[in-house]
Structures are given as structure tokens and as C-alpha cells.
Symmetry: C2
Subunit: 395 residues, 2 copies
């Protein structure tokens, strides 16, 4: 599917040699005009240099012009040298583009602890800027991949008044995925005219409803960053609450597509588990229960093994620490009720579920009672391939 | 190593056909005289029938005569029929031994949700009681194994006054190991004379210091049970606080050995990670940090891959949710300082650690600052074999 680049944005990618030679690993998105800028960042206490610098910029200014992303080195746990290097990369791009360094939002992903290879940056930046306009959304998404198996991008266009608004977004990430504010890296470009304050209000909510409900391995990265630019070049003005609601719904749908792709492409993943907990006393309890099930190694390996193992789901729910009456628990997998009134149902679920469990998408519905708390979580399964990837990869 | 059966206890095992034909799967320990009885049980909200019945007995009485354990069926999530069946097994044993049913503490392990096979019990009980005295501690430990690769038992003897006290203990468990009150199953036999109240006081502390600090997969079972009997047959009286301290230290050492074995035999485990967090504001914070690291799939797979991946340890510490100053974090693996002042050290730790990481025992020392909080946790690694075992095993 071709995703339209929102008006007034230009993209460039190049291969700087940060990762596999010949693969693109450096990406730049530039807005023709200053854009309302929002950021959502990792809550990990160890924040990579570009996270610290991006947070600082968005604290000082409400607009930005560009996002600059490299893969290969995360520039995390790199101390003062890492911060200085990150600033140097902003300056290198500023010199050749005419932008101010503080208009360029930086993000990095890759191996933790290694310093940026500044000589390679020096050589790559002129080439990158020469390529401006030569990349589409898919190229951009491809250039920020690390262990990802496929590029992740999504978009939406909608009519508002006389004009047309375009949203395009990319994300990357396959491991260290349990975003807590944002995913590994994501960039959202939009050509609506929206004031910065409203634009910034939108993302914590949109991220809470999408990326923060996706988990591969329960590990939150040091580099999680989402940047979102809205440059107004479409001429469409977000004027009132109704307009804003339409925009927020569209952005949230786009991020939901990316969140699904993150889990689908989770390291070694063969399944996307759609875990829905309802009937809890509050949403927080439902979330705690869903995360306990979604992080259970025993549930994840059972799903990989296509085993309708309600016993492991029940055991995980039973240890999740939220109050509920065991007699009220109902567990339903792919539409088949497996557990009720503290006992398995008598259905022959091995035959009933054999086809459903061979599919990629597995629904696990857990009802704890009749409380109002609901939470949904996307989780991957746990496979041999996951262990292979992670017993070898040096991060 | 031969472990002495404490005086006044007799053991029996038999093969009832609950699991692999020909393998022992039913075990009975009987004290000649009423023994002070303690129990520690799972905190999982779904408690197996024998857990419910054992808890009830120890609530009503402070002494017991016997422990009866089967493998093959966990008798969990089996409803009223499961409770009735459990009581029937007590009665069957009572009839042929002359004990009262309520003097027999029951425990089960195996597949969740299946009812006990009462016809097999009926045939096996007379054979079991005929075998009384024919089993030693290793036979007893072997009879309660499920996915365990080896039987787990330990013991200690010590002189007190003119007499000699013996302690012998067994445990089982390789998966669904993150005990929260006790391990999967454990039985402690002791021939000291100690009042029930003191004996019961000892175990929450001893378990907190041993089994509750062991994790394989972070999943807490529905059947976790520890039973401990002290029958006084040695004639040695625990008379004062000093005596009691000696006894508690010995019991704790025995349980620590078993906890180590549980992790060593964790499903697919090739490593025992000794995670020690110090310098936290309080012990609870240290524990939360240690558990975050010990449950991190990325840390566990790195250790399986013999990779001194400090980045994953630092990322896990950074998301663990306890307050600390990132500048204070020091990470030390197998005695080599890998991370300090927010950066990796410049040591060539790949060469320094290659030999140490090939060993079974890996020390991971994490200092968060200069607070008083300390916690140690034993955790297994995460291997291909773990996935194989759990993608196939139906529980």
C-alpha cells in the first residue's frame, strides 16, 4: 500500500555504513515550514543522548522543522561524549540544510554503549541531504529498521472542510518492546494546521491507546521516542473540538496499525495475542491482569505450541495480584469458552480450536466479574527463533 | 550424598500409573508420633484442592502425622469433585494405616484441570502402605518429580546438648517456578522436639530467604505447598531462643540448597544467575529491581548466549520503577565491573569474561547507590530447550 507523504514534507535516506553495508541506516524528514512538534519518550531511567536532547528541545520550543534518525548505534549510556556527538550530528545537518540545529529532532537506535561513528556521519550527511525528496514513506521506514523483519508504516487521508489532511507515520522495533510512553522509534507527519498545545495533548492519549498496549518481551528500551510534526501546509485548519476529535481519531488509528505491526514483527513472533480483560474493578486492575498474562512465558510458549492451555492462563490470572472472585473468572480463547465457575468447560476444545490456533491472530478474552474495568493488550508469543535472535545479538 | 531420614519417620513410594508407567508417582511420609506441623502455601488465587484441604487442616490443628503426595494430576481447578476426591485419598490411606484422615496432609502436582484417577488410587494405596519403610529420601524426592530432571533433596544433622537433630527435605519443580510463599512442593522432616507455634514461625522467614528468592519463569503455581513436620523423636528439645536460632539456621540452609536445585533444574536452564541488588533505599526496592532483571527475557537469553550484555541489564534496571540516581549505578558480572557512571567501563570484558560465562553459576551484582536495601535472587536463563518443553507440554 502506497502511503502519501503529507504536503510540505520531504524525506531522504542514505547508507552511512552504520549497520550492514549497502542497507540504508540514516533518515531525515524535513518540513518546508516550522511545524507544531510533539514528543513522547521512554520512561526508562537511562535515557539515550538523543532522547535527552529531543526532550530538551521540545521543552524549550513548540515547533520544529526536521527529524534525524540513525540506526546501528543507540547512543545510549555514552555519557558526555554521546551528548556532544548527538549535537554535532544536528550541526552537520544544519550546515547543509540551512536549518537551525535546535530545529532538528534527533533519534538513534541500535547497540547500547557504543559511541556514534562520527567519521561515517561526516561522509554521509552531504549524501543524505543531496537525496532530499528521493525517499518515500516506505524507504523512510526501511532506513530506521534494526532487527525488524519488515518496514512499518501507515497513513490516512481525510477530508475536512474544503481541504484534505494527510497523516503518515513510521515505526521500528522488534525487541526490547514494552513501550512505556512510546515505541522504540516512531515519527508522525501531518499537514494539518493545529496549534502546538493541542497537538501535544493528543499524543499521550493516542500512545496510551496504541503503542503502550503492545508488548513483545516486556523490556522497555532506553531509546523509545515518538516525534510528531504537524506543519499546516495542507491549509486545513483544526479549528474546534470536533475537528480535533476527527484528527485524534485518525492519528490513533494510524498508530494502532503500527502497534499491531510491532507485535506481528516481534522477535521470533508467530502470533499476535489480543488479550482483553474485562469486568475488573478498574481499568488499572484490568491492565495489570492483561500484562501478567501477556508477559507469562508459559502462556506465550503455549500459544507458540498452538495449545489451548487454559490452565496457564488461569494460573497467570490467579497470581496477577488484582482482587476478583475466582468463581467469576471466565476465559475464552478464539471465541470458545474454556474455563468458567473455577473449572474447565467440557467442550472438546482441542478439536474446536485446532484451526483457530493455527492462525496468526489469537483472541484471549478474560472476564474477572462485572466491574467496569477493561484493558486490551497486544502480545507476541515466545518461540525458538526468539531465543536464537537474543542469545546471539549483542546490544 | 546419602541423607539420613530423621528419627521416627518412615517413607513409602509406589508407581500408581499416574504418569509414565513404571515410574514412581505416589509418596507417603509418616511420623511414628504426632508431629508439630507447619505449612506454607501458594498465594495464587486459584488454589488446588489439596492446598485448600491442607490449609484447613493446619488452621484447625497444630499437629499432623503424615504427608501424602501424588504427581500426574494437580487436582487444581477441579471444583467440588476435586475436593471430594482429595478427601477420599486421605480416607483410603487412613483406613490402611490407622491414622485419622485429618492427620494426613495432602499435596498434588501435574496437569491442571484433570480429576484424580480414583480407580488407580484405589489399587495403589494398599501397595503404597505395604512399602512403608522401603524408601529413602532420594526415592521420596524421585516419586514427586514431574518435569524435573533430577530428584531434589538435602539435609543436615547437628548436635544439640546430648542429642543429635536430623533434618531432611525434598522439593520438586522445574516450571511454573516463581514461588510466592513456597515452592511447587516441598516436605521438611525433622526429629527435634519443638512446639508447634515456634515451628510455624520459622517457615515464613526461611521460605522468604530461600524458595521465594528463586525464579525460573515468573509463573506462580496453583499448587505450591511446603509441609514441615517436627516429631521430637530424637529426644532433643528446642528449649530457648538460642536453640531455636540454631534450628532455624539449619532449616534455612537446607531450603537454600533445594531452592538452588530448583533453579539449576529450571526448564531448559543452563545457568543459575545469582542476582544481588544492593544500595537501594529499602529491601523492597532491591527486590523489585532484582526481579525485573531476573525476569527480563533479554537478560536471560543473553546469559544463555554467554554474552556479557550489560546494556540489557542496565535497561532492565532503568525500567524497574524504583528510585535511584542513574549516576550511582554499578553493574558487576562475575567480578568484573562492566558499567559505572552511566557508561560501560573500558575493560575488554569479552575476553575477561569468556571463561566465567561458560560456567553454570553467574554472579550479577547491581549497586543502586548507598542505601541499606539488599536483595538476592536466583534466576535461570532462557534457552531453546525451555521453548521446546513449554510449547509441547500440556498442563
Amino acid at each position: 500500500m502506497k502511503i502519501v507523504i503529507p504536503q510540505g514534507f520531504t524525506l531522504a535516506v542514505t547508507s552511512a555504513g552504520f549497520k550492514t553495508p549497502g542497507k540504508t541506516d540514516l533518515a531525515l524528514a524535513v518540513s518546508d515550514v516550522p511545524a507544531a512538534a510533539a514528543g513522547v519518550f521512554t520512561r526508562n531511567q537511562f535515557k539515550a543522548a538523543p532522547v535527552q536532547i529531543g526532550q530538551h528541545i521540545l521543552h524549550e520550543r513548540d515547533q520544529a522543522r526536521a527529524v534525524l534518525i540513525n540506526t546501528g548505534q543507540a547512543n545510549a549510556c555514552t555519557g558526555a561524549e554521546g551528548l556532544a556527538n548527538c549535537r554535532l550530528t544536528q550541526e552537520m545537518v544544519a550546515v547543509v540544510t540551512g536549518l537551525a540545529p535546535s530545529e532538528i529532532l534527533p533519534a538513534s537506535t541500535g547497540v547500547i554503549g557504543a559511541q556514534l561513528r562520527m567519521d561515517a556521519w561526516q561522509q554521509a550527511i552531504p549524501r543524505l541531504v543531496e537525496n532530499m525528496g528521493g525517499a518515500d514513506i516506505e524507504d523512510f521506514a526501511s532506513a530506521i529498521m534494526t532487527t525488524d523483519a519488515f518496514p512499518k508504516y501507515a497513513g490516512e487521508q481525510f477530508r475536512m472542510g474544503a481541504g484534505m489532511v494527510s497523516i503518515a507515520a513510521v515505526a521500528k522495533g522488534a525487541g526490547m518492546i514494552c513501550p512505556n510512553m512510546a515505541t522504540m522509534l516512531s515519527v508522525v507527519l501531518c499537514d494539518a494546521a493545529v496549534d502546538s498545545a493541542s497537538w501535544r495533548e493528543l499524543f499521550p492519549r493516542a500512545v496510551a491507546a496504541t503503542f503502550n498496549r503492545a508488548t513483545v518481551d516486556g523490556d522497555t528500551s532506553t531509546n523509545d521516542t515518538l516525534y510528531a510534526l504537524a506543519n499546516g501546509v495542507s491549509g486545513v485548519q483544526i479549528q474546534n473540538e470536533d475537528d480535533f476529535a476527527v484528527l485524534e481519531a485518525a492519528v490513533t488509528r494510524v498508530l494502532a496499525k503500527l502497534a499491531y505491526m510491532l507485535v506481528q514483527d516481534g522477535e521470533g513472533a508467530t502470533k499476535v495475542l489480543h488479550i482483553r480483560v474485562s469486568g475488573a474493578d478498574c481499568a488499572g486492575d484490568a491492565e495489570q491482569c492483561a500484562r501478567t498474562v501477556g508477559h507469562s512465558q508459559l502462556v506465550k510458549t503455549a500459544m507458540y505450541g498452538r495449545d489451548a492451555n487454559w490452565g496457564r492462563i488461569v494460573a497467570a490470572v490467579g497470581r496477577c495480584g488484582v482482587p476478583f472472585n475466582p468463581a467469576d473468572l471466565v476465559v475464552n480463547v478464539c471465541g470458545v469458552e474454556l474455563f468458567k465457575r473455577e473449572q474447565p468447560t467440557t467442550l472438546d476444545f482441542d478439536s474446536l480450536l485446532s484451526e483457530a490456533l493455527a492462525q496468526r491472530d489469537i483472541n484471549i478474552d478474560i472476564s474477572l466479574g462485572d466491574g467496569p474495568g477493561v484493558y486490551t493488550l497486544l502480545a507476541s508469543d515466545l518461540s525458538h527463533e526468539y531465543v536464537s535472535i537474543n542469545a546471539d545479538y549483542r546490544s
